[in-house]
């Protein structure tokens, strides 16, 4: 088993589900005994990834967002995937201040925020359609023992 514990949630791309998604991930990660700052970082990154699905993946209709969370002894792995319109140029989407919707007061800083708050961010095309964002964060760098280790 790659992970100590894992969960998958699938929900519609309503913006009200952004707060649900980040709270659900935060609640699930508590078993690794993270610090308040680590939880804050994870919630921010998850919010960015889910917002991308809400705003960009499904511009005209609501679609499904799937969020997987896997827990390792000292690491959280989160995969946020959609089956939406996809991103043509994945590298360009990650550039700071790049946005396809400047007229909507969008800053284009979503990926920059994810990269700054997490240890690793991977952006890939999804198998069928859409994209998958993988977020990884090493926890307990100050050597706290996780609850799951007994």
């Amino acid at each position: 088993m790659e992970y100590l514990n894992e969960m998958t949630l699938t929900f519609l791309s309503h913006s009200i589900n952004e707060s649900f998604a980040r709270s659900a991930v935060a609640g699930f990660c508590v078993q690794l005994n993270p610090t308040i700052d680590e939880i804050g970082d994870i919630k921010t990154a998850v919010s960015e990834a889910v917002t991308n699905c809400v705003v960009h993946a499904y511009p005209d209709k609501k679609g499904w967002i799937t969020m997987f969370v896997g827990l390792k002894p000292n690491e959280v792995v989160i995969k946020v995937s959609d089956e939406g319109v996809g991103i043509e140029n994945l590298a360009r989407a990650r550039e700071p201040f790049f946005t396809t919707k400047p007229d909507e007061e969008r800053a284009g800083m979503g990926f920059t925020v994810m990269e700054s708050f997490m240890d690793e961010v991977i952006l890939e095309k999804n198998n069928k359609r859409g994209v998958v964002v993988t977020l990884k964060k090493v926890l307990n760098k100050k050597q706290n023992k996780s609850c799951m280790n007994g």
Partner: protein
């Protein structure tokens, strides 16, 4: 999400409370614009002590208000952000146009 304001002398104190994300951004934008439209003030201090969460959607909201106030020559200052929000303001250089005060 709640936005409140009060004017003391020539300063508008604007408080943003709750969570600012894509879901609440439209409401926050409309509330801030309507509060900033009225009253006699020469600067705005945005109090973020009650803002429990903000992601990059909030950057767009803040820059939009900054641009509107700049046209009227009214500076905006930011006070009491949480650690995560402080990090977002720093990485996007928002403090260059909206300085942080204590």
């Amino acid at each position: 999400m709640q936005v409140t304001s009060k004017i003391i002398n020539d300063t508008m104190y604007l408080s943003i409370l709750g969570e600012l994300d894509e879901h609440s951004a439209g409401y926050a934008r409309d509330m801030m614009d309507s509060l900033m439209k009225e009253g006699d003030f020469r600067q705005i201090i945005v109090d973020l002590s009650g803002l429990e969460f903000m992601d990059s959607t909030g950057i767009g909201v803040m820059i939009g208000r900054y641009k509107k106030m700049k046209q009227r020559g009214i500076p905006i200052y930011v006070a009491h952000p949480s650690k995560q929000i402080d990090k977002i303001f720093m990485m996007t250089a928002l403090y260059d146009v909206m300085p942080k005060i204590n």
